[in-house]
């Protein structure tokens, strides 16, 4: 029988966990920044013609900001689960957990990026349209936010997966 053994908790395991944290926050922030900037320019243009509508039309900006919050939530949850080596110097954090955290971060981050781009483009067009036709307001409430939420849900489920190399072999 070919005996192939892989270290369950190698020293490099935290690298993948931390990359998950970075991916979650940075990609989600790219989406949030795109949504905020694109919608903000639309609001500024629309506000010149219709100043009283500006505060109502801040909604796309708020929804883009929420994507940044999703990234922050997942980043905080993941980095709280990355354990330091214990006092004997052995790594307790396993590769299994590291890869799960990397995938969770990528799920949330890339979904947030996609949702932010959608919110930006639709928000820009939406606020400019509402400036001219007020009946379009309800149509502008963005369904694109749900995309980021799907990413958050899957990331939270993935981040529950863990395996520890502690002395009693507990999960």
């Amino acid at each position: 029988m070919a005996d192939i053994t892989y270290e369950t908790c190698p020293t490099s395991a935290p690298f993948f966990g931390f990359m998950g944290v970075t991916a979650a926050l940075c990609f989600a922030n790219i989406g949030a920044a795109y949504g905020t900037a694109k919608s903000g320019v639309g609001i500024s243009s629309m506000g010149v013609m219709n100043p009283q509508l500006v505060m109502r039309n801040i909604i796309p900006v708020v929804m883009a900001g929420v994507l940044g919050i999703y990234g922050l939530i997942v980043a905080v949850i993941i980095q709280g689960a990355i354990t330091t080596p214990d006092n004997t110097g052995a790594t307790v954090y396993s590769s299994f957990t590291g890869y799960a955290h990397l995938s969770a971060g990528l799920c949330c981050g890339l979904s947030g990026l996609a949702a932010g781009m959608a919110i930006g483009i639709v928000g820009d067009a939406g606020v400019r349209a509402v400036g001219q036709q007020e009946r379009l307001f309800v149509g502008m409430i963005l369904i694109a936010e749900a995309l980021g939420l799907y990413g958050l849900i899957v990331a939270l489920i993935l981040s529950q997966q863990s395996y520890d190399c502690s002395a009693n072999g507990a999960r």
Partner: protein, 182 residues
């Protein structure tokens, strides 16, 4: 191609090597690169935002000189992003220490990874935050030139944008609290 005694008749790839790839680079390199990325990407974001805002602000101020002073707030929001970067990179550089004989423990490797990713998070978030605030600041200046009452309302959008840099700072600090060398 079969090796001696292997009933499957072929060789398995050594996946253990894959797990050791991040350890080909020394923890000093990880930590120093993270420190450098924190300041470098933050400054790029701040500079990008400032030139986007500044160009529109100066162009609009030709016809409406009154917007000049109020809209410097947008430039200051972009500058704040660079300040976050420098604070975090000073914090990270304080954690760099020599390990005797380059005998790295698992805790040293952990610290190297943590500071690298902390710096990358801070730098990346500040980069996009600076660009976002710059674009909205440019739009704010031009809208203010046409209708003065719009300035405060579009400043609310800029505040939402500047929160993105703060998220990066929070995570960068929390990730590296337990990182220390030696």
């Amino acid at each position: 191609m079969s090796d001696g005694g292997n009933p499957f008749g072929y060789e398995f790839m050594n996946f253990q090597r894959l797990l050791d790839i991040p350890m080909d680079i020394s923890p000093y390199n990880y930590a120093a690169t993270g420190t450098g990325l924190a300041i470098a990407l933050s400054v790029v974001g701040a500079a990008w935002g400032i030139f986007i805002t500044g160009a529109s602000l100066l162009g609009g101020a030709v016809k409406e000189p009154r917007i000049r002073t109020k809209n410097l707030i947008s430039v200051i929001f972009c500058e704040a992003v660079a300040i976050y970067g420098i604070i975090l990179s000073i914090i990270f550089s304080g954690k760099l220490n020599i390990v005797a004989g380059n005998a790295f423990t698992n805790a040293d490797w952990y610290s190297g990874f943590a500071i690298f990713n902390g710096g990358l998070t801070v730098g990346g978030c500040n980069l996009v935050c600076g660009i976002c605030v710059g674009i909205v600041g440019a739009a704010c200046a031009l809208a203010d030139a046409q209708k003065p009452e719009l300035f405060v309302k579009i400043l609310v959008v800029e505040i939402f944008g500047s929160a993105l840099g703060l998220f990066g700072v929070i995570i960068g600090i929390v990730m590296t609290t337990q990182a220390k060398f030696g």
